[in-house]
Symmetry: D2
């Protein structure tokens, strides 16, 4: 290590499951190396990552990624100021409580995906509203319907009754892209006081009413013990006839058997991006189900979203190095970091 | 005719090509009959419409629809105050100049369709941005790609460079639904001064620059002699690599051979709702063309749009009857009414 | 007249009551002269304006301003395409019905002032909400109140109940500048169907309810026979205690005696820009009345508003010369042009 | 203490400098007492507050207010989960680092005042733009100017060049209320990465350019060592001729001598709400200075702002009691809590 680097803060990097180039633009990666002494655990050679990590910890200023960081390892990193998670999920291989006790910033990259998910969710909703993919398929098969003929069930989103289950990053981004449609948005989010929702221009509403009054219903909740099968068979039975459901957060929030049965029965239409089992079994009946738009967990993971992670990491590292609080990534809440039940996502 | 009706203004109605129930809700139709003596040319019995029309003209307050109204017929309607067109196109079977000379309101229903077209156009754009219908088809064929794998060319609409060719009703409605995406919108519209475009928050731009700088390019222009093949092969060659084109106004504005060749060559993607020949020939190669979303002239003609026509007609009739100017339908411009070259649309 | 000018359309100009330089920037004036043969009636020399006008009429393409144009004069102007009013009021010295019968565009410059009036109206409302001018006066007299002490009656505009009487150019501009306050806006406008108001995101409401439910009430109506003393003593008695009234359109719409009595009684506060008699008599009691912000008909007539008139005139002349409809100035409605009862305004 | 209260969490309350009724509505106070065992230090009787505090600490769940809490006192409060500051300033009588080390939430009520300050700042800006208080004074003295006469220097805010120094709570609230004016907003905030500013639709800009290009310049920065006299004489000399300056955050950020000299010289106009010395000396020359709007630290402290504090406290206490993170008050940043140099404000 050249002596001039000695003054640079040490950043430990473990980009997996991403290749580094997915989350850092060349410019961002260059800046990272210019400003910090980067210890890349994946460049460390097979089997040596743990060793390299242990060696780097005493001088480490920040960890980018999610290598195993139990309490004893954290204890050997007295200068550690931040752990920057780049996956969107917090796994229990890091002792987050130890971080909080030390005042080490624990940061997540959830905001990186929110815009991409919101745009995809709106795309699914408009598809369901207007039959875009259904009629594209018909056109390719030579059975398209012109003008009004294929539009019997088409609806407008403008001024529509819209429901959100959950109002975190996804809900806020989706509310923003819906602005120009002037919808009435009812939101059920048990973690947020009514005043916060009103401040965002949405109506705080109970779960039952949100479901029963929504022509467009977006499932945007994360998974916790409490939210598993939040949208169960009983609640799905109260969805208005002809409603459009869009699922883009996490599959366990919905009872899929009931969901698909409702679509099959012609009760509502559904745009589905997340699945209880991924990949979906080859012979799954949903593949032939009309009334759906099928999407393979593609809402968030687009190039622009991934590359924004690197920019966020770089901006927040710089702020922390300057003695300022980070502002781009999302501070994990001590109360919540252990409650999420999201599976790892690969692909 | 009961004597009590004598005091009601006489409205001549010819709803075709629509059935009356497509454009009037039951409530609106009831209100129409309650407030006016309605002479329905289609209820007149076969072959008698002309006769009924001629008989009603001397007392006619307004004509809703587009029966033949040459100068000599208009001359026999001294009380006529308005001609309310419900088709979206002005055909030469009405002597519009005679109407303008008489101060008879000539009103069009273009605004009725604008919101539906704008939402469909955005739906097509988001589909092209994210591959929604492409991946739905793949999913149904058991070859879906999860997470990042199928997202290599996915792009965000947020903060994107967007171009509009034309800024009439469609452009304004589309600008509004795009609000939440905070795009940069360049507009080419030779009928509008720059100040009007700036007032709407869009950038007045020349044709070449609008095309060459747009990641999303929306063709929203109506057809006139001047706009035929406005987007020709030469201009299409300057569309940025990977751009998304959305065509929802009128087919003659674009050179379709060049358009489809560009898509086939992988230069850009296209969402197409209007076609030079409708129905599209069964064996047309576009049916098998990747890089497109195919739509059968479905953008505007949805139930909510049709039914808004009846409400607009009713509101404006009432204003005119009260001695006030109409405000919901669009006053036809003396300068433009003869310049449009739109074909009749049926369906 | 130089021969090269022969091909230019002839524009007759009578800028009064404005000096030409108030409504045309040097650039706009230069462009006007470059594109048109301008016959300036005021440059014509004393007593000769009528003669010059009569001489120019046979070739006149447009009249900018409001010289006497009775039917017989109009009849001598066969090429006349437009009369562009630059005062904001239509006086009976022009035979407008003859213009309408001929299809001559009759254009008003009302939109030029709307933004200025809207900003002034909001300024008055915020002043009343927070006591800005009242406390500025106190400060200058050495009796200012710090922090909470002077704020007992201060209110927020955010999420407030706002009422508009009238929703023409002023109402639309004011609604736009209020966007960021997310108010509930109730509008009474008997000339507009409910659907138009809803389309603008405001609530169509009856007169009594609009008045009785508004914490901020803006009087934005123009004067007609019907709107004289629209806000009379009886209605003023229903204004909520502590409300803020802002008057920026036309004085005759309000009963001023009742208005000032209400302020004097501490029932509401008022920001007043228009007066039944201007100048207001030197000894008028309003000059000493607390609970008011006094403004001397200053809301609309600012340099930026005046200069936009010249730009609007130029843009619309150019469109008309190209065979296109004007879009910047406001087409006068045949039904309304004779109904306004505004006095001339000088200053 | 009734046994039934034993199960309620203990909340220590010291509302001063506010009376309790200023920050809690009767409903909020009732709810507070219903859900928590409230130990009100001010109800404790003279001289006994410390004693009561010490006695309550071992069971304390939260402290609302800012009693002396050095490390040794905090050490005697093992169940303490949150310190909720209700003054807007963090004083050194609390050992915040000890709180952070313990994972005790340290919350501030800055957001409570932001909307009130933003509306006042806009009111001052519109007053300066249009001369509202100046002309109100003239009117009361019988020397008002009608229509254009008094408007020579009036300007529009629409589409104006606006500059913000600082983009915390105040800047965000002000940006929102400015939405309808479609301004270009340049922001200098050295604590925020450019991406954050862009995300809010403002332009990240250097200090010099922000000052030199702003027709409306808002000083919204808090005071730290670095920001003292941020706007100094040299920088003030670059303010555009005729600009409007609005000071609503903290006086030390500006060199007041240079500021007032600039106004006196006719270089710019200023709306001033905060002062280096409060009360301002009775004989201060600013009291007679034209070109100013004078305000006595009244921007934030209005009833609606104060009462929102109680609601925020109640909402966040409830979230914390439910094991969720607080969301309404502002989490103090470990890095910043010691850097602010705001004086106590009384009134």
């Amino acid at each position: 290590m050249p002596s001039s680097d000695a003054a640079k803060p040490v950043v430990i990097l473990q980009a997996s499951p991403h290749p580094v180039s997915r989350i850092f633009t060349p410019e961002a990666l260059h800046a990272l190396h210019e400003r910090y002494t980067v210890v890349d655990l994946e460049g460390a050679g097979p089997g040596t990552a743990d060793e390299v990590l242990d060696q780097a910890l005493p001088e480490a200023f920040a960890v980018v990624g999610q290598p195993d960081l139990p309490a004893e390892r954290l204890a050997r990193a007295p200068k550690l100021r931040a752990v920057l998670n780049i996956e969107g999920n917090f796994y229990p291989n890091v002792d987050y409580q130890a971080c909080f006790d030390r005042g080490i910033h624990v940061l997540g990259c959830g905001p990186a995906y929110a815009q991409a998910v919101a745009e995809h969710a709106l795309g699914l909703a408009l598809d369901l509203a207007r039959g875009i993919s259904r009629e594209d398929r018909a056109f390719r098969e030579g059975r398209e319907n012109y003008v009004a003929t294929g539009n019997a069930d088409a609806v407008l989103l403008r001024n529509a009754d819209v429901g959100f289950l959950g109002f975190g990053n996804l809900g806020r981004a989706l509310r923003t892209v819906l602005t120009g449609f002037a919808p009435t948005i009812r939101v059920y989010d048990p973690w947020l006081p009514a005043a916060v929702l009103r401040e965002h221009g949405v109506l705080p509403t109970g779960l039952a009413e949100t479901v029963a009054r929504s022509t467009f219903l977006f499932v945007l909740a994360t998974v916790t013990e409490e939210s598993r099968h939040l949208l169960d068979a009983e609640l799905l039975a109260t969805v208005p006839q002809g409603a459009r459901l869009v699922l883009v957060s996490r599959a366990p929030v919905v009872d899929y058997d009931a969901l698909l049965a409702g679509v099959a029965a012609g009760r509502f239409l559904a745009g589905i991006d997340v699945w209880p089992e991924e990949p979906v079994p080859a012979d799954h009946s949903v593949r032939a189900l009309e009334g759906t738009v099928l999407s393979a967990h593609r809402a968030g993971g687009i190039p622009a979203a991934f590359l924004s992670i690197g920019d966020m990491v770089l901006d927040d590292l710089d702020l922390i190095a300057r003695g300022l609080p980070p502002v781009r990534m999302q501070a994990a809440a001590r109360e919540l970091v252990g409650r999420y039940r999201n599976r790892p996502v690969t692909g």
